[in-house]
Structures are given as C-alpha cells and as structure tokens.
Symmetry: C3
Subunit: 329 residues, 3 copies
C-alpha cells in the first residue's frame, strides 16, 4: 500500500491542508506516528500529540482548529474516526484482490467452483463440493467431499473442513481451524475401556460468521452442530458436537462449550470460559472470563461470573469478603 | 449413504412393518425426523414423538406396541439403541473404504508401508518410517523419519508427527494435532535470559487411543512421554514432556498436564483442568471442570474440584457458604 | 544417532573407564537405563541406581568413587550434568544438518533466501519475503508476502505466517502456530450484529524467541503486536492484537492475553492464565496457574494468584479459611 494525502482525500471525500503529495505506506497511532505513516486524531484527549506528531499525513475532523503549528499534512473529513475505519476497509479489500486463480492443488472433477473463486497451493477439494462466487481458499486447506461453502468467504491457510459441512456466505475461517471433526463421545464398557460413538452428523454455519485460528468445531452425532448468523468465535475455542451457538453471540479465546449445550442469541462470552454439556444459556447473557457455567441460565440479559458461575454482582461481593478474610487473625 | 427399510432390517437382523422400500439417507432424532431420514425410538419418555414423526423409517424395539397410528415404516430389532449404534458403525466403516492409494506426496524410499495403506495429498513420510496395514493418512500430514505407526490407524488432515515416535494399532489422531514437538524446558541464566533444554526423547502411544484436534503432545527430554492403551484425549489439550497418561483415562477439551506428571488409569478429567508438573494422580480419580491439581492425589476413586482442587463435596459446601456471604450485611 | 564411549569422551573432553567401544543410540535415566543407552549420574541421592544400571555407558563426575562394582562403561567429565546438556545440544544440532535444499514448494521469484536455507515440501513463500542464512522451514508451512525472517530460525511443520510479519534471529516457531492472523475486534451495531474491525498492523518478534505448537499471535489493528527478545511461549496460548510481551517473559500452555495488554520483562506466567485487555503487568511478576488478571500489576516482582488474582500469599490464607468452612456446621 502506498497513498498520497491527495489520494486519501479523494477516497474519503475530504480536503487537503498542506502538501497534497505527502506519502504514507502504513498506519501509526497519534502518539507514535513516524515519517511515512498516516495517523488520525479524533479523541480530544490526545490533542497534545498532534503538535509533536512526525506522521506524514494526519486525518482530522473537518472542524478541527489547531492551537499550535502542525507538521503533518492534514486531511479533513466530516468524522476522522469513521474515515479511518472506511480507509482500513478499502485497504483490506484492495489487498485481497488481484490474486492468481488455482495453485498446485487437487480439485475433484465433480466439485463446482463459482465465479472468481481463488484457490491457493496444496489444497484439496473433494467430490461434489460447491464453492460460491468470489470465495478465497488459501494454502494447505483441505475440504472434504460434499461440503458446501457460500459466496465471498475467506478460508485461511491450514483450515481443515470435513465432508458434508454446510457453510454460509461471507464466512471467515481463520488459519488452522478445524470444522467437523468427530465429537468426543465414548461409552464406558464393563472392563473400563471406552467404545467410540460414531458421529455422522455435520456442522452448519450461517452467514457472516467468523471462526478463530486453531478453533475446533465438532460435528454432531446425528443432525447438526449449528453456528447461527453473525456469530464471532475467537482463537483456540472448542465447540463440541450438537452445540447451538445463537445469532450474533461472541466468544473470546480458549473457551470451551461441551456437547449439546445451547447458547442463546446476542451473548457475550469472555475467554477461558467453560460451559458444561446439555444446558441452555438465555439470550443476551454475559459471562465473565475464566468462569464455569454448570446449569441453565434462564433469564436473559444477566451477567454471570465464577466457578461455578453465579450472578456477577454476587460473586464480587462474596469475593470481597473472601479477600478480606486473608487479613483477619 | 442411501438405504431402504429392507436393507436396514437385513443389516441388523430385524423385521419390517410398512413399506420395505422406504428410503433414508441421513439420521434425525425422534423429535426432529424428516422425510428421507431414519430415527430411532428406545426411551419411553419420547413415545409421543413416535405418533407425529415425519421420518421415513423408524427403528424400534421388537416389543413396541403403538397406541396410535404411526406414519413411518417400522423396523423392529431386539434393542433399538444397540441397533442404531451398530448401524452407525457400519456406515462409518463403509464411508472409509474404497479410497485411492497414494496422492501427491513425498514418501521416502526407505519407508515401509503395509498392505492397503491409504495416503492423501501433500503428505510427507520420512526415512525408515513403518506404517501398519490399513492405516489411513489424510492430506497435509507430515511424519518424521523413523516413526512407527501401527495397523488400522487414522491420521486426519494437518497432523504433524515428529521423528522417532511410536504409535500403536487402531489409534486415531484428529486433525491438526501435534505429536512429539519439543517440551517446554528452559533454564534461567544469571542475566535473566533462558537457555533451551533440548528434548531428545519421544512419545509412545499405545493401542486404541484417540487424540483430539489441535491437541499437542510434547516429546520427553529423555525417554518417553507415554499415552497408554485406550486413552481418550479431547481437542485442544496440552500433554507436556515426560507425562504418563494411564490406561483408559479420558480428558476433555482445553486441559493441560504439565511436565512429568503421572495420571493413573481410568481417570475422568473434565475440560479446562490444569495439572501441575511432577505430581501423581491416583487411578480412577475424577476431576471437575476448570480445576487445578497442585499436589498428589493418593487415594483412588475420589472426585476433586476447585482452584486449587479439594474434595468435590467439600468444595461445594464451602462454595455454598461463599455464595451466601454475598447476601449478608 | 549412534555413538561409542570413546566418541563421547572425545566430544566432551573426558576419559573412558571400561570398554571404549561400548555403543549407545539413545538416552535413559539412571533408574531406567537399558543396554544400548547412555545414562548420567550427577545427583548423589541416585547413587544406588549406579550399581544396578544396565545402561551401556554412564556419564559421571570426574571425582566419582564407586563403592561397589559398576557394569556400564564409565565416561568421566568435570561435571556430568553439564556434559549431558552439552551432548544433547550436539546431538540436536547434528540431527538438523545435512538436509536437502528446497522441496516441492512454491517460492516467489522476488523472495530472497539466504545461504543454506532449507525448505521442506508443500511450502509457500510469498513475494518479497526475506529469509536469513541457515533458517530451516519444514513441510506444509505458508509464509505471506513481504515477511522477513532472520538467521538460524526453525519454522516447524504446519506453521502459517501472514504477510508483512517481522521475525528476528534464532527464533523457533513450533508446529501449527499461527503468526499474524486478524485480531478479534468487532463493533456492535444497533441491530445486535457485529461489524468487523480490520487489522492492518503486524507482529514483530525479537531474537531468541520460542513460540509453542498451535499457539496463535494476532496482528495489531495498527502498528505491531510485539514479542520481545528471549520470550518463551508454550503451546496453545493466545496472544491478542497489539499485546506487548516483555523481554525474557515465559508463559506456560493454554494462557490467553487479551488485546493491548502489556506484560513486563522477566515475568513467569503459569498455564491456563487469563490476562484481560488494556492492562499492564509489572516486570518480574509471577502469576500462578489458572488465574485471571483483571487490573494493572504495578509493583515489580510480586506473585499473584486466583480469580480474580490477588497476592498469592493472601489467596492461600483466604482459601485455607474457605476450605475450613466446609467442615463447620
């Protein structure tokens, strides 16, 4: 990426104040910006950094009135914060275009790839797969037979998708994630050994979902493990067989959801959380980091915390007394 | 998979009641079954679903007497639950046959592959490896020099096995798991930096073991990290250098066992558990989710819970008081 | 590896007592050593094992005076423990030499590879990458365009490095780790859905760093996620966008550090720890396993523990009372 202040103003509908040919090729925060970088200034509390900034270009609100001399070229837009977000989207989109089509890979003859599908190197795509228009599949990915992937998806390097999975549009599967491996189901035999329960279901992922790097989503025993539209799952999470993750629920890293649990819509689940199997979590629940949910959460909109989790405010009260007890005789 | 009611009865030694040509190509639970699906009915509490089921075929106990009209074709077997399990095994086994032999991969000339070994694409198998009969190695797997893998194993996509490992028969290594990477061993030098301890041992995995997706099993410093027969390890677990996991012990996701710890036989360890290094856990111990084991567990058959873990029943009593304290003045 | 007692003495500057042609090809602890193995004896408490050892060769301190007959050939060196460490380094280094150059891989023409770079099979190296002298890149690795990797690094199988990353000298990236995937950043829209925040920064890794198997290090939104010199990160850890991990800090498995947190230098962080976003942890802090850090730790050199973490000694006192409360009526 290399851009001038003039290009930037044109892209965002802004005006230039200073050298219109000032160039930048990366981004720096207002407090760190160096020559060759673009910074932005939106939060008044950082104004003092404007006057010492070494960035080449500074994106500011249209109504910004400097109180001291400013070194960077200014580009004024109605809202600098929104402008920055728009620019980052433009750059990200641009970097993802102009890529070659089909590397050294093995694609089954019966697989149907849509228009402008991009496939990297060392990729295998099994029989009867369907890949929607403009989906990008990076290197070292495997996609099992009969899997369907929608339009405008991104499948990053090292992702492995098992046969028979169903994935919606605009889904992003981050590097190394595993979709559709066996559930962890075992029956104890009288001699203490385990008999494996076969898992013949699949995973169904809705639209606009992101699944993090090295996260694992097990397929259902029968029927489907379901990740509904708009869900965001961070890195290194475990979603077990037959789980349902409700629409727009977000989950931070290293969280595990055990078999057949149902998470409602709009939940926010922090990192290192455990949810035991076969329970339901109501819509819009918030679960604090490092908590364990061992029973149903029935009332929507509550915040839970602890091991096992109780209402957040109760945990904090009880923990305050716990801490205090360290100082009592 | 496509099967008729008649096929199903033949495979399970049952009898058909209704249309013997009724077809199914997937499975649905008794409460969800749709046309084209097989459901099964074994638990009397779900009987009311039998009379509204839209499944094409329903597997039932031989002595089932419907109290109302039933739409699906019935297949009667002595025990519907066992019949379903048997069918799922048959289907799983069938789907794993009839695969091509040796994709685009690099196999060292000195590697010895048994009868009917199946190797996917983009696989590397190092010098002097031995792979037993009927083992299947999926895409993008690497197997280091001198490693031995037994018969009838499944090595799923993206697994990386380091040189010199020893793996038994009927072992399943799930996608993305890592067997035999360096242990995490460092010695602090006077200047605060770390000197790496080399790890020249290996990992020895017994028979009938399953290791979950993206799980990591480090090799020993000297000698071996040992996973005994029949062990089941779920996804995203960490087994450190020189650990011993006893026969038939099962461990749920996101659990970590630190260096040189020894877990007994027949233990059940829930998810997100930590076991510190150099301790012993007695046979048949049960560890609750999200617990930390910081000392030896000497008496077999106990249940532990908490951080650090104490006896489960004591933790629950103490936690009840902890919760209650939130409501006191 | 195969070596004689004579070779060993020559390599370590020691003397042989017994058969100089005695061979070993692996290592065994003093209490387990078998024929064909080397053991070492340094800690006096294990002396009784010396007299029953079946190892072929035994490395001992120069001043060791046996009180009973000893079967293995002895190799005497000034310090047996240091000698063993030196030997293990020699063996590890030897096993990593003598490898072929460039397998079946796709290396962009504009990528610049230093002297003696070794590249495995099914590797992709993007445009304008620079790889330093003597760096080894194993199978199924992907390296995005514009990434720089220093000298004498080891990139193990299945590692995926995104475009534009900067990696120092003597860095080891263990199998399956992901460097530079998107940070987990989302803005909630009024309808409850999430808008993705693009991440256009990178990851900068210093010299002498090790990052564990299947660990994930997200790239910054702007600027860099920074892993300073000498850091050791174990398997299955999550380092979020814009985090800074200070020099020589070590972190055990399954630990997660949320966005923009700053860990000081020389910290020791145990496994299954969570650090919430935007906080600072002082230099030389120690964090106990399974803890959650929810606020700044300002004073260097303290030990913290619990959920949320408090001073370790206070947690243990309070927890002792918590445990005791289980036994009170």
């Amino acid at each position: 990426m290399e851009m001038t202040a003039k290009d930037l103003a044109a892209a965002l509908g802004g005006t230039v104040e200073g050298n219109p040919e000032a160039k930048f090729s990366s981004f720096g925060k207002i407090e760190h910006g160096k020559a060759g970088q673009l910074s932005f200034f939106a939060n008044p509390k950082y104004e003092h950094f404007v006057y010492t900034s070494k960035a080449s270009v500074l994106l500011v609100n249209a109504d910004f009135q400097p109180k001291e001399p400013v070194e960077p070229t200014l580009v004024r837009v109605p809202n600098a914060y929104d402008g920055m977000a728009k620019l980052m989207k433009l750059v990200a989109a641009k970097e993802q275009k102009c890529r070659r089509h089909r590397g050294r890979c093995r694609i089954a003859w019966s697989a149907k790839l849509g228009r402008s599908v991009w496939v990297g190197d060392f990729v295998t795509i099994g029989k009867n797969c369907r890949i929607g228009d403009c989906t990008r599949i990076y290197d070292n990915v495997t996609i099992g037979a009969g899997t369907t992937i929608g339009k405008n998806c991104i499948i990053y390097p090292g992702v492995h998708i098992f046969p028979g999975m169903v994935i919606g549009d605009r889904v992003i599967l981050h590097a190394g994630c595993i979709i559709g491996d066996d559930g962890f189901g075992n029956v104890k035999l009288p001699d203490g050994s385990w008999e494996k329960i076969e898992h013949l279901g699949n995973v169904v992922i809705g639209n606009d979902v992101e699944i993090g790097s090295n996260t694992t989503v097990d397929r259902a025993q029968m029927e489907s493990t379901i990740i509904e539209d708009g869900v965001r799952i961070d890195n290194l999470c475990q979603i077990a067989h037959n789980v349902v993750v409700g629409k727009n629920t977000a989950m931070a890293a290293l969280t595990g959801v055990a078999g057949s649990a149902r998470l409602g819509e709009g939940c926010t689940i922090a990192g290192l959380v455990g949810v035991v199997g076969h329970i339901k979590v109501a819509d819009n629940s918030t679960i604090g980091a490092h908590s364990l949910i061992i029973g149903n959460i029935r009332k929507p909109g509550e915040t839970w915390y602890g091991n096992p989790a109780i209402l957040h405010k109760d945990y904090l009260k009880a923990y305050a007394k716990f801490k205090q007890s360290a100082n009592e005789d």
